[in-house]
C-alpha cells in the first residue's frame, strides 16, 4: 500500500507539441462545426471587402492627372489619387514655407531618435528618457518650428535638450553594445566605479555641466527665420497640438482625480466642479467661447495667442476626461494595498506614486489610450480659429478649383493616416499592458 518514491524525477523542459501550424488552425479556427462555419463566413466577407477595395483603390484608380476631369476621363469607376498626391505638402506641413520644411522634418527625426531607446530592450533608464522628452524637447522643437528671437529661458532649456539628447544617444549605444547604463560606463572609464556615492554623483554632475556650456554657446549662433503659427497646418499641426495635449493631460488628469478623492472638502468640491463642468459641454463650444468670447470677458486690449488658447482648452478638456479614467482605476484597487503601503511607512505621495498609481494606470491603459486617440481626433476643431489641421486640409482639396468636388479620396487617405497613427498607439499600449501584467496569474 505504501509507496515510497526514492528516485527523484528530474526537471524536464516543457513539451513543444502544440506548436505546429495545422494544430493551431485546428484548435483556433475549426474546432467545432459552428466555428468552422464562422471562419468560412468571415473569410468570405473579408474576400469581398478586399476585392472591392483593391479594384476601386488600386486597379481602376488614377494616380497621375492634372485635374479631376482628367481623372474622370481616365476612369469613372476608380479612385482619383492624383489630387491627394498633388496636395501632399499641404497635407503634411500645411502652409509652412516650402523651403523651410526641413525644420519640421529635422524636429520629427529628433523626436523619433529621442524616443527610440524606450523600445529597445537592453537600454537602461527608460523613465528618464520619457521625462527628458517631456521637459526639454518642447523648447528645442518649439524654437525650431517658429524661429525668431530666442529668450533666455528658451535658450537654457534648448541647451538642456541638446545635452540630454546627446547623453541619451550615448546611453543607448552603451546599452546596446555593453548592456550597462551610461553612468556606470563613465564611472568605469574614470576608474571610479568603487568610489563613494557622493564622489560619483559629483563627477557625473560636473560632466553634464561641462557639456552644457558649449551647447549653450553653440545655440546662440542659431538664427532661424520667423514663421508665424498661422502658417502651421496639416498633419504637423495635428501632431503638435495632440502631442502637447497628450503629454500634459495625463498628469493634469491624475492631479484632478486625486483632488476629487481628496479628504479636504475645498479641494474635492473644486476638482469635482471643474471636472463636471468641463466635460459636460462639447469641446467645440468651449473653443468657441475661448477664442471669440474670451476677448469680450477680458479688459480691452488683452490678447493671447490663439493657438495657445486652443491648446490650453484641449489640455483642460482632456485632463477632465483623464481624471475620470484615473478615478475609475483607483476605485479598482483593493484597500489592502493602501494599508500595505502605509505600514511600510510611505506617505501620501509615496503611496500614490509607487503603489497605487502604477496599478491603477495599468488597469486603465485601454481607456487612457482610447482617450488619447480621441484627443488626436479632437484637434480637428482648430478649424474654428482658421487653422487647417490634417482634416481641414483634406477637406479643402475638394474646394481647390482643379480638384473641385474631390472629397472621398482625401477622406479615405485621412482615415488611413489616422488609423496608422492611432493603431500604433494602441499597439504600443497593448504591448505595455502585456508587459506590465507579467506578474498576474493566468
Amino acid at each position: 500500500m505504501a509507496i515510497v518514491n526514492t528516485q527523484r524525477s528530474p526537471d524536464r523542459p516543457a513539451p513543444i507539441s502544440e506548436t505546429s501550424v495545422v494544430g493551431w488552425l485546428q484548435r483556433n479556427l475549426f474546432s467545432s462545426v459552428f466555428n468552422t462555419l464562422l471562419t468560412i463566413f468571415m473569410l468570405f466577407i473579408i474576400y469581398l471587402a478586399v476585392k472591392g477595395i483593391l479594384v476601386w483603390g488600386l486597379f481602376d484608380a488614377t494616380f497621375i492627372a492634372e485635374n479631376r476631369r482628367e481623372c474622370y476621363d481616365k476612369s469613372l469607376t476608380g479612385a482619383c489619387w492624383a489630387g491627394v498626391i498633388d496636395w501632399l505638402d499641404n497635407i503634411f506641413y500645411g502652409r509652412y514655407p516650402r523651403d523651410q520644411i526641413w525644420r519640421i522634418n529635422a524636429g520629427g527625426l529628433l523626436l523619433v531618435l529621442w524616443m527610440l531607446p524606450m523600445w529597445l530592450p537592453r537600454v537602461r533608464g527608460k523613465v528618464l528618457v520619457g521625462a527628458t522628452v517631456v521637459v526639454f524637447y518642447p523648447f528645442l522643437a518649439g524654437y525650431m518650428f517658429s524661429g525668431g528671437e530666442m529668450g533666455m529661458l528658451t535658450q537654457i532649456m534648448a541647451s538642456g535638450a541638446i545635452v540630454s539628447f546627446a547623453l541619451i544617444m550615448a546611453n543607448m549605444l552603451v546599452g546596446l553594445c555593453k548592456d550597462m547604463g551610461l553612468n556606470s560606463f563613465v564611472l568605469e572609464v574614470f576608474g571610479k566605479s568603487k568610489a563613494a556615492d557622493k564622489t560619483q554623483r559629483n563627477l557625473l554632475l560636473a560632466l553634464v555641466a561641462a557639456l552644457f556650456v558649449p551647447a549653450y554657446l553653440w545655440l546662440s549662433t542659431w538664427a532661424l527665420e520667423v514663421i508665424s503659427w498661422t502658417k502651421w497646418g496639416g498633419l504637423f499641426l495635428t501632431l503638435v497640438i495632440s502631442g502637447i495635449g497628450i503629454a500634459s493631460s495625463l498628469p493634469g488628469g491624475i492631479l484632478l482625480a486625486l483632488g476629487r478623492r481628496s479628504e479636504l472638502p475645498v479641494v474635492r468640491v473644486l476638482s469635482t466642479g471643474f471636472i463636471e463642468v468641463f466635460r459636460s459641454v462639447p469641446l467645440i463650444t468651449v473653443l468657441f467661447m475661448a477664442t471669440t468670447m474670451f476677448p469680450l470677458f477680458m479688459p480691452e486690449g488683452f490678447v493671447l495667442n490663439k493657438l495657445t488658447q486652443v491648446i490650453i482648452a484641449v489640455i483642460l478638456f482632456n485632463a477632465c476626461y483623464m481624471a475620470e479614467i484615473v478615478r475609475a482605476g483607483l476605485q479598482a484597487i483593493p484597500k489592502g494595498q493602501f494599508e500595505g503601503a502605509h505600514t511600510i511607512g510611505l506617505g501620501y505621495w509615496g503611496t500614490m506614486g509607487l503603489i497605487i498609481m502604477p496599478q491603477a494606470l495599468k488597469h486603465m491603459i485601454p481607456n487612457i489610450v482610447g482617450n488619447l486617440i480621441g484627443l488626436l481626433k479632437d484637434t480637428t476643431l482648430v478649424s474654428i480659429i482658421g487653422l487647417f489641421d490634417l482634416l481641414g486640409m483634406l477637406r479643402s482639396i475638394s474646394k481647390d478649383v482643379p480638384w473641385l468636388g474631390l472629397h472621398k479620396e482625401p477622406l479615405i487617405f485621412g482615415a488611413v493616416l489616422f488609423f496608422i497613427i492611432c493603431f500604433s498607439m494602441s499597439k504600443y499600449s497593448r504591448h505595455l499592458e502585456v508587459k506590465l501584467s507579467a506578474g498576474e496569474k493566468h
Binding site: N35, M42, S280, I284, P366, I373, F418, F419, C422
Partner: protein, 371 residues
C-alpha cells in the same frame, strides 16, 4: 473667502463683457426667441411651420433631435460595447480577434469620417425612391430608400380597440409571467426562459386578435406622391447614418472600458465562480461584471456624454441636431452669437450633468464594502 473671490471674479467678467459689448455696439438679449424663424427643416418631432414658428421652437426641435439620436445611440452602443468587450476576452481565438479588429478599426478612424462613410457609402446607396425596398413584402407599410425610412400611419377601425387591449394585456401578462418565473425560481429553483415566451405573447396574441376581428386597421400607406413617399412617419437617412456611426464608434470605446474593468477583477474570483460550478456566462454575469462595475462606470459616463456631444457632428451629413439647427442655421439668420452659443452650451451641460448625476449615484452603490 472663496465666495468673495468668486463673486468678485463674476462681477469683473460681467462688467467687462457689458462694457465691451456696449463699446462695440452689439445688442444682446433673449428677445429673438419669440421672433419667427423663416426656415424649415426636414426632420422634426413637433409641429412647426416655417415663417410662423419661432426660434424658440427651432431650439426645441434641435434639442429633441439631438436627444433622440443620442439616446438611441447610447442604448445600442452600451449593449454592443459590453458584448464586444466580453468577446475580446473569449478563449475562442477567432471570436477574440474579430472583436479586436472591430475595436481597432472603429476606434482609430475619426468619427466624422465614419459618419460621412455611413452616409455616403451606405445609406445614400440604398435604392432610389422609384425602386424602394418594401420591407413588409409588398404591403407598402415599411419602405426603405435613400430618402429615408417610411412607416405607414395606421388608421384604427371599429374593432381595433380589441387588438390594443390584447396588446396591453399581453404586456402586463409578460411582466406578471416574469415575476412568477422569479417566484418559481425562488420556490422551486426551476429557471424558466422568460424572454422568448413573453416576446411571442406580446407580438403574437395581438396579431391573432387583429386577424380574428377582421383586420380593423386601414393603413395610410406611404404613397409615391410626386417625388417622394408621403406618409407621416419617416426618418431621414442622415438619422440612420448618424445613429449607426455613433453606436458603432462608441461601442468600440465602451468595449475597451469593459475589458479593462473585467481584467481589473482579481483572477481568483473567476476561479471561485467556476469552482462552485457556474457556467462561464453566469460567472461573468453574477460574479465578474458586478465587481468590474466600479472600474467601468466612470469611463462609461464619459462615453455617454461623448455620445451626446458627438451627435453634433450631425451637421456634416445634414441631420438637424441642436448645433446644426440652432447654433448654425439660426445663428446665421439672427446673429446673437453669445446668447445662442450660451443656450446651446447650457443645454449640453444640463444633459451631461443629469447623466453624471444619476451615474454617480449608481457609482456610489457599486463601490465594494471593504475593511
Amino acid at each position: 473667502m472663496a465666495g468673495w473671490l468668486a463673486g468678485w471674479l463674476a462681477w469683473y467678467l460681467v462688467s467687462n463683457t457689458a462694457h465691451n459689448l456696449e463699446v462695440r455696439g452689439m445688442n444682446t438679449g433673449f428677445g429673438f426667441i419669440d421672433s419667427s424663424a423663416g426656415f424649415d427643416t426636414d426632420f422634426k418631432l413637433i409641429d412647426y411651420t416655417p415663417g410662423i414658428g419661432t426660434y424658440g421652437q427651432i431650439f426645441l426641435i434641435g434639442i429633441l433631435n439631438t436627444l433622440l439620436v443620442s439616446f438611441m445611440a447610447i442604448i445600442f452602443s452600451t449593449v454592443l460595447g459590453f458584448f464586444v468587450g466580453v468577446m475580446r476576452l473569449s478563449h475562442n481565438w477567432l471570436v477574440a480577434k474579430v472583436a479586436l479588429a472591430y475595436v481597432e478599426i472603429f476606434r482609430n478612424v475619426p468619427l466624422l469620417i465614419q459618419i460621412v462613410f455611413w452616409y455616403i457609402g451606405v445609406f445614400s446607396l440604398l435604392p432610389v425612391v422609384k425602386k424602394s425596398l418594401d420591407l413588409l413584402f409588398g404591403t407598402g407599410n415599411l419602405i426603405l430608400n435613400n430618402r429615408g425610412f417610411y412607416l405607414s400611419t395606421p388608421i384604427p377601425g371599429d374593432l381595433f380597440w380589441m387588438t390594443s387591449v390584447t396588446f396591453v394585456g399581453a404586456v402586463i401578462g409578460a411582466v406578471l409571467y416574469r415575476r412568477r418565473a422569479r417566484k418559481i425560481q425562488d420556490s422551486t429553483g426551476q429557471q424558466t426562459k422568460t424572454l422568448l415566451p413573453s416576446l411571442a405573447a406580446i407580438i403574437g396574441l395581438p396579431l391573432v386578435v387583429y386577424y380574428l376581428t377582421g383586420q380593423p386597421l386601414a393603413w395610410d400607406v406611404p404613397m409615391l406622391k410626386g417625388f417622394n413617399f408621403v406618409g407621416d412617419t419617416s426618418v431621414p437617412p442622415s438619422f440612420l447614418a448618424l445613429l449607426v456611426a455613433l453606436s458603432i464608434y462608441h461601442a468600440a470605446h465602451i468595449a475597451e472600458s469593459v475589458r479593462a474593468g473585467i481584467l481589473s477583477v482579481n483572477r481568483g474570483q473567476q476561479d471561485a465562480g467556476m469552482g462552485i460550478g457556474l457556467k462561464p456566462g453566469k460567472v461573468m454575469r453574477l460574479v465578474i461584471i458586478p465587481q468590474a462595475m466600479p472600474a467601468i462606470v466612470p469611463p462609461l459616463i464619459s462615453n455617454w456624454m461623448n455620445t451626446v456631444k458627438n451627435s453634433s457632428l450631425a451637421i456634416a451629413i445634414g441631420y438637424p441636431d441642436v448645433v446644426s439647427l440652432f447654433m448654425q442655421t439660426a445663428l446665421n439668420q439672427a446673429g446673437y452669437a453669445v446668447e445662442m452659443v450660451g443656450m446651446t452650451m447650457a443645454f449640453y451641460m444640463l444633459v451631461s450633468l443629469t447623466i453624471s448625476f444619476f451615474l454617480n449615484i449608481y457609482n456610489k452603490r457599486v463601490q465594494l464594502v471593504e475593511r
